[in-house]
Symmetry: C2
Subunit: 300 residues, 2 copies
């Protein structure tokens, strides 16, 4: 087993987590969250999304959030930019890395972003061109990589095609997302083997939701396949928009605990990240989705 010695955690809580919240969250609270995450040692934070507020009202204040955070050297502060207009808005807000979002499932693409997979990819071309001009890196997400709420199982070959296209287009990293958290460890390994045949593994990341409790086992399986980048969400923020009441993103705290135990370096301080998780959970008035956080609090 060649497990990586360092893992980069991409903290998606402020974006992928908060975007699912119904009640509006104040810009100042979002800024505090991002600053807490910076202080905890996270090296990559997805801060917000430049998307029509008609679609995702919670992300309306992303430019203000970018303006308010204290940017630390060495930390990537990224934003999701679904189209050219979003990209321009992100540039105006001083964003230095963006992400685009495609699906491996045709039905999910149609229902989630109102276009076919091919159309979504073609929309990214002008973003890629503009990003090149601005010297901005682009990260690509592929959702439904291990299953789709409408189509069920997704063929890994289908995921590979979308991942390869995003990579060829210029995305420096492709994050494979188990959007509904249905995948288990064997399927995860097969996916990485298939996609890894076309996109070098050092350019792949894992994005696991914990809906069925499988996320940490899938991350452990991914590490065994040489994956060294994982998307996580502080306090497990996010829920599952396709199954109300179910768990969402894997909690950053729990992933850091696993990686600490495996002797894999992340640069993240567990106590500080747990603090950030408790603070935002308090703002949202809810129990943290992190078991590590619950255990640390119970231990006192």
């Amino acid at each position: 087993m060649n497990m990586p010695s360092h893992v980069r955690i991409v903290e998606v809580g402020p974006r992928d987590g908060l975007q699912n919240e119904r009640n509006p969250i104040e810009v100042s609270q979002k800024i505090r969250l991002v600053d807490d995450l910076s202080a905890a040692g996270l090296e990559h934070i997805e801060v917000g999304s430049f998307v029509s507020p008609k679609w995702v009202p919670q992300m309306a204040g992303s430019a203000e959030v970018f303006a308010g955070i204290g940017r630390k050297p060495g930390i990537t502060y990224a934003a999701l930019t679904p189209n050219r207009r979003g990209f321009e808005a992100a540039m105006a807000a001083g964003v230095t890395e963006v992400a685009v979002f495609a699906a491996a499932s045709e039905s999910f693409s149609q229902r989630n972003i109102n276009c076919s997979i091919a159309e979504s990819l073609s929309r990214f071309v002008p973003i890629m061109d503009a990003a090149r001009l601005h010297g901005v890196r682009v990260r690509g997400y592929v959702s439904c990589a291990l299953g789709c709420p409408y189509e069920g199982m997704i063929d890994p070959e289908q995921v590979m095609v979308v991942a390869r296209d995003l990579y060829t287009m210029g995305c420096y990293e492709i994050s494979l997302g188990d959007t509904i958290g249905v995948g288990t460890a064997s399927a995860t390994r097969t996916l990485i083997e298939v996609v890894g045949g076309k996109v070098p593994r050092e350019h792949l990341a894992g994005h696991f939701h914990d809906t069925y409790g499988q996320a940490l086992a899938n991350i452990y399986a991914s590490l065994q396949e040489g994956i060294a980048v994982f998307d996580c969400s502080i306090a497990g923020l996010g829920g599952c928009p396709y199954a109300t009441g179910a768990s969402g993103n894997v909690a950053t705290e729990d992933v850091v605990y696993l990686l600490n135990g495996l002797g894999i370096e992340t640069g993240v301080d567990l106590e500080q990240v747990a603090y950030a998780g408790r603070a935002i959970s308090q703002v949202l008035g809810r129990t943290s989705g992190s078991k590590v956080s619950a255990a640390l609090s119970a231990r006192g």
Copy 2:
């Protein structure tokens, strides 16, 4: 990787789970739980414990539970018997398999069962003798196998000595318990390698608590080490007596989901076991600790 093709799940919910409940649970509810678990296809159920009600009041009705359950052929209905008196009571109740319980941590042994590890083992000798006479199999638990609430880290060699002694004494299977759920996948593999040097792996079982969310990753790591028996608790019943508010035993539903995904046969029907979990959670008036159960319910 030589993962097993079949896994035996030892369902410990009615004993290890319910023993931590403060409010008394009616015998009829316990019987219903065991019958539901039998119907779901579990082949090994720890039904109760024959211990002084002064110590564990919740287990006072174990003889009545054994008298009331519908025993299905091929299913093992076991009981925990900490001493000779408990063993005799179990025999009187028609129990056909018993379990004994030792710790790998001296402090835990003293505080939990009021004697040293060596004393606890010597108390098991008459149970082993009597069990041999009755033709009853004895299973051995080793707690604190990956950490102790009082001593912190536990040397795998120390766990090995206790496991080896129980095995030599006649226990047909040794369940290695991460009682406080602190272990991660690497420590789990090291533990199995060390203990497996003295006790053949086909006589070892894993008992993981999910306090820090690591249980499924640890089970996946154990499968890779050839372990094919895991203790689980329906709906994650159990909590953590050493950290109020933290998660306890790994949920049977979540383990079955993982094993189904890995193509490993268990004989357990996921829908039926989820039904059993919802029923007992309702009796206890609490949310199930199983993420799979939450996801299935949310999906409707």
